[in-house]
Symmetry: C2
Subunit: 343 residues, 2 copies
DNA sequence: TTTAGCACTCGTCAAAGACGAGTGCTAAGA
DNA sequence: TCTTAGCACTCGTCTTTGACGAGTGCTAAA
């Protein structure tokens, strides 16, 4: 990408700023009036024509003003944009999330997603990491009544799984304790692979009557620790996009909403982004999925002890306020990482 | 409400059926043609005028056909409608919910709500009962590490609460066991009121070092068992209403969606309905909340051992397919009740 | 009591035209 | 060579107009 000269930079920035603000194609006179660059509208028109030739802006129709193209937004984000600080107001709200630190990780992420949606007018998304990288921390077997056993599995970092197992046979608390004690001793800090056949048969030897129960329990552990289930995608503020002027057309909006609602597309996109690190901006057609070609996606990954945990971000029209979105997303991801490191 | 004569019944039924199907005002000729009642359109026009006079139908404008009023729908539901059986297809899907029986009650209800939304083109809603009526079943304290203790509280029917407590002091597993054993022994099957000061001070005597921890734990129990938190309202298929032809106007739709999304209104309406028993149909202005005046709400309560547990239902335009909605909601509520009785 | 006939109402849709925002081009000035 | 005033031109938007038709209520005859 060739450098633009200073004047064209100014004009592109002006076009983008105004368009982000108004959602209307920006004409030469508007720029000449508002951003007094000491330049007439005619000159601006000439420069605009050049910018169009180079693909930074385009005209929706002949007699309209200019709108930034994906390439234009890209240049804007990479070169022209100054990322603002988050306001103290916002900072305060983000830090209030800590009140909920006592909940499981998943709820914290949901709450954070909600906050992002509330602070912006965009759709907030997050992947709650699958447990594939999780390690065993603790298992607890609680006899609920004669036939039902509550299995509580705690994995690192911070996930808690509850399942109820029904069994025709009754087991004594001691038997259950033996099973859980053994598992806790053997598996602590380990991954799913640690659940070997040897281990299993040894456990069966210790409590031979509980063969069936043991296999159910280890199934649960296995599935929680290693199964490649789909990442959980959290979406909040879906209806925010209804307030965006580009979604006045009901049919198109319905299409878009259904794409965002069913989550498959998002799951794919976010999962692939979670391999990146730091702050990422995907603009329009840069998105992997053609369904998102009218959207931009600002994401950041959050960590647990330096370990890539998941992705959180904002999805809006390409005409989004990149600066604010980027600063918020970054701040929130950093905050989450700090929070989880305390766990 | 006076009885209508047979012919008017037929005409009202025809108007309602056709209008529910097409969402277009129904003219006299349409009825004369489709439902050959052996009667001319002119006669039907006369009868329609009478029906209008009595308030069962109205004209959106002078030269339009007739549309059922709330009163008309009410008569239709009460007198004219035959409630169909659920199809075997639907029955099968409902019964597949049982596969998830092993999960906590809350998830089952969420899943059921989702199914209702998928089976219909309406918005599916449910109240997950607050725990106010819950009784204590079991508590388990799991030391996660030196400073964090996982509190697992199981209440009847079938709710499981997880909380993590951080404590500057370390406690031995034995101490934790003493606390939980005591609580389990004293509180089993009891309500929040059982958590008396006497009990608390006795517990403090048993493990005096854990005064702070004990008060955190009992706070949790207290809040889960008795605190008047808002009912959790589950909404699914919110976007289904976008497919309804009456919601083509984007502004109105946005308004409606925001009402349904924020849940306060729904919470109020559903909570008051949960006092009813059996199948309830609220039509248009019959709804407590003016925001729902264009909607009908079909709900049923579900039970646990004869005890009123919560409400589940469907929300659609007044022009909804009452028969199918009613049969589905009823079936689903019955199914849930049976399921929970097994717990 | 029913119904054919007819005048009347009124919403919808498409075509036509006014309007105006914005452009590109040209030519003159710095 | 760069800038800019001027101007003709384009084209989307909004409003007006009129044709169309679905549906009505009323009247009068069967």
């Amino acid at each position: 990408m060739r450098e633009l000269n200073e004047r064209r930079k100014c004009i592109l920035r002006a076009i983008t700023d105004v368009y982000i603000d108004t959602a209307e194609p920006v004409g030469s006179t508007t720029i000449a009036r508002k951003h007094n660059l000491g330049i007439s509208s005619a000159t601006i028109r000439n420069e605009m024509a050049s910018l169009e030739e180079e693909g930074y802006v385009y005209q929706p129709h002949t007699s309209a003003g200019r709108v930034p193209s994906d390439k234009g937004y890209r240049y804007y984000v990479d070169v022209l944009l100054e990322i603002p600080e988050v306001t103290s107001e916002e900072y305060k709200k983000i830090n209030q999330l800590a009140e909920y630190r006592k909940e499981a990780i998943e709820k914290t992420i949901r709450r954070t997603t909600k906050l992002l949606a509330e602070l912006t007018e965009y759709v907030s998304v997050a992947v709650i990491p699958e447990h594939r990288n999780a390690t065993f921390r603790h298992i607890q077997l609680v006899p609920l009544d004669v036939h039902n056993i509550l299995v509580i599995l705690v994995v690192d970092p911070g996930f808690i799984e509850n399942r109820v197992l029904s069994s025709p046979r009754a087991f004594s608390p001691e038997q259950l304790d033996e099973i859980s004690a053994y598992l806790n001793q053997q598996l602590r800090g380990k991954r799913g692979e640690a659940l070997t056949k040897t281990l299993l048969s040894e456990l069966n030897n210790i409590v031979p009557e509980a063969r069936g129960l043991i296999s159910s329990i280890t199934d649960i552990i296995q599935s929680v620790l290693t199964d490649a289930k789909d990442d959980v995608v959290v979406v909040d503020g879906l209806l925010n996009i209804l307030d965006q002027p580009e979604f006045q057309d009901l049919d198109r909006t319905k299409l878009v909403l259904s794409v965002l609602e069913n989550r498959k597309v998002l799951s794919k996109v976010l999962s692939s982004l979670s391999r990146n690190s730091g702050l990422t901006v995907q603009i329009g057609e840069e998105n992997e999925s053609p369904e998102l070609k009218d959207f931009s996606l600002v994401t950041a990954t959050y960590y647990h002890c330096g370990h890539n945990l998941g992705t959180i971000g904002l999805l809006g029209p390409t005409r989004m306020t990149y600066g604010r979105a980027m600063s918020l997303v970054k701040e929130v991801a950093m905050y989450l990482s700090e929070l989880f490191d305390l766990l």
